[in-house]
Symmetry: C4
Subunit: 231 residues, 4 copies
């Protein structure tokens, strides 16, 4: 089942490796078929170079139970499911161990919008969640990771903020498709690196103006967009 989606999710995972966003077997991409009520996700701990479309695991959107696949799904699958349930407009989720985004997550800091490259993708800071509480860590850890993300995004359109930092852990990103989620994860890593270099030059860099933030975001997104070719 879902052979086409398995193929796309597999390719999206390998794209993650090609872009240098993962180390060893770390990181994962999933995609959802909302009509079928199923999520397709990378198997746990399998090397990227050996991965094939048929190794992708299908889990139930409702229960998280494995619907098809011989391997165990990524241990982060419960986090993905919480995000798909909370953010109805998204079609793909990515978790990476990108060096710079992880460093900001370890510093427990939002990445401020310091320039137009940031504004092209995020209509505000890349938010960082609060650290998780002992009881959230000890029980139902991976689902609770999703819950602190949803808590942090409350009141924000997830497509205006297509990624987040989980404090002490690292980045999650999403998009309307698995491919767009990978692009957003890749951009998030670039923004984290760019903000880090900026921060080294100027300890307290000022965020850009609201006008510039909106100008760049909306020239690439929404009905008035004029960047790129007409679709």
């Amino acid at each position: 089942m879902l052979e086409e989606l398995k193929k796309r999710v597999c390719q999206a995972n390998q794209e993650l490796a090609r872009r240098g966003l993962v180390v060893l077997t770390w990181g994962n991409v999933s995609g959802i078929d909302r009509a079928a009520g199923c999520v397709v996700i990378k198997p746990s701990g399998v090397p990227y170079e050996e991965m094939k479309a048929k190794d992708m695991v299908v889990v139930s959107f409702e229960t998280g139970a494995v619907v098809e696949g011989e391997l165990k799904p990524s241990s982060d699958a419960p986090t993905h499911l919480v995000l798909y349930r909370a953010f109805e407009g998204i079609g793909g989720v990515v978790h990476t161990h990108g060096l710079y985004a992880t460093a900001w997550a370890q510093a427990r800091r939002d990445i401020p919008p310091l320039g137009t490259t940031h504004a092209d993708y995020f209509l505000g800071a890349v938010p960082c969640t609060r650290p998780m509480r002992p009881e959230e860590i000890n029980t139902d850890y991976e689902a609770n990771t999703g819950r602190v993300i949803v808590e942090r995004l409350a009141g924000t359109d997830p497509l205006h903020c297509p990624g987040v930092l989980v404090a002490d852990h690292g980045p999650f990103a999403w998009g309307e498709t698995p491919e767009e989620a990978v692009e957003n994860a890749c951009v998030l890593e670039h923004l984290a690196r760019l903000a880090w270099v900026t921060h080294c030059i100027e300890s307290y860099p000022r965020p850009i103006s609201r006008e510039l933030l909106e100008k760049h975001f909306f020239r690439k997104h929404g009905p008035g967009r004029y960047y790129g070719q007409n679709r």
Copy 2:
């Protein structure tokens, strides 16, 4: 029309990607044929690896209107046109998202001339523009981006200062040809990185002396040059 220039502009754009100065579809190179009154520029949002000479867009130097081409020109085309109109000696313009130059732009700082590598290409600091005002952002944004560059370069020979940082945004560079503009963009990125590392070692590094700055600039440029082979 302008088939030869289209080919060169296309290659110059791909050189930008090969040198790691762009991410995804970001960045753009143009070239001008002043006799024909036309500028050839990269189309908006097209992947570098798929780009062909025939995809380049020809726009009018006077009006900015598309003269030839099936795709939309880069959304930064109005910035390029303002630069070509103000700087009569230039034949190519480049905009990149180079990490280090963008970080200095985000820090809203000139890159000081800290060594002879810098002096080989820039006869002074790489200047940073002032941040743009809300009204400049809301109306005619891309042309106004060119205007703050021209304002910042006032009184400077643009070939003695072949690049600039737009505050909160990133670098633009230029040269007598599209190829030279790409070389200058590549050097600007290197200088930004070098100044960043220097800055991390020594918080307030001193600029080099005027004598050393002029020695290195003029041994590579102008009538008394003795670096390189006789042309």
Copy 3:
């Protein structure tokens, strides 16, 4: 003798080079056959690309004397032997000149557990030894290097802490096999780099909670592990 182990140790050395953890001929990997009482190690000062399985040197676990091989063993062989004698559960040892781990060693600092990536491999800080004393340097230097490592690890399960920094020198790592030792050396370098970037963003980053440290370590290691596929 030990042809299979020579082949694995040779491949593990070359993997080190492929992962960018060594410069020139620096660094080395060894493996032990405890039943045979022998350690197989890289020859001293031989380029990685020219190395063959038959160039590996077999030394006695007891005495350090060369048992087989035409080349001199790595000058760090006495350090490896001290570690194999002290840590009975390990089967491979690695020494690298990884840039970031060496920098922490030069700063004489433990790498604190700043995030879950760290906790996936180390159940606490990556410890740094004390600087060696003049008499330890002047006599029996390489064996004394092993002794300060063992001194620093006192009271710690070496498989819960599969690597260390030797002050003023650089990292050593180990594992149940040579391959696992290389993976741990590679992860140690990544953690050192990640902690460095974090440190640049936030001068005094706080270590993660004990609960999160144990959650991540034990979801990958020991009887209750649920990361990865069932072996």
Copy 4:
């Protein structure tokens, strides 16, 4: 004439490019045949990838005049000649634009001996010259660059200190052969990068002890060396 040396010098130049120590056409390697009274050096401003052995330029050790070759020699040739005249034991000289070594030169700082990697090659700090005076810049600039290097090395065995930083400019390195000079240039760049990262972690890192410095230097160099295979 000197066909074999031309071939080696050409290869050494290309090795410099392969190791990422040069940008565009910057940097140069030379080698000397003291019996013939000639120095073979890279031509000025020629791309590394197009360079052939026959393009190397032969200049007189005494006068600096071109003895053979159709191209102009590197504009840094007079610096090389001053070094060959002052340091009788050296057979090759290298000038690079390595990012990290250049940054220390721009910061006008010695690179302190912060670890054993440094001690394996330099028996003390990598020294930085004083800035050059206006009159030294205005007249006979390239030879004066050599003279401030020689002034800084006064009283030091150049083979115990196979490289230097020219303040505001960048690194020069040397060795008994052109190949060894390239290795030393490559190591100098690595040490500069390593010291930079260390410096970011610990603002005032302490140099290593004299005992450790000598232990590592002399286990690789001189009559008592025991690193590597017997030659």
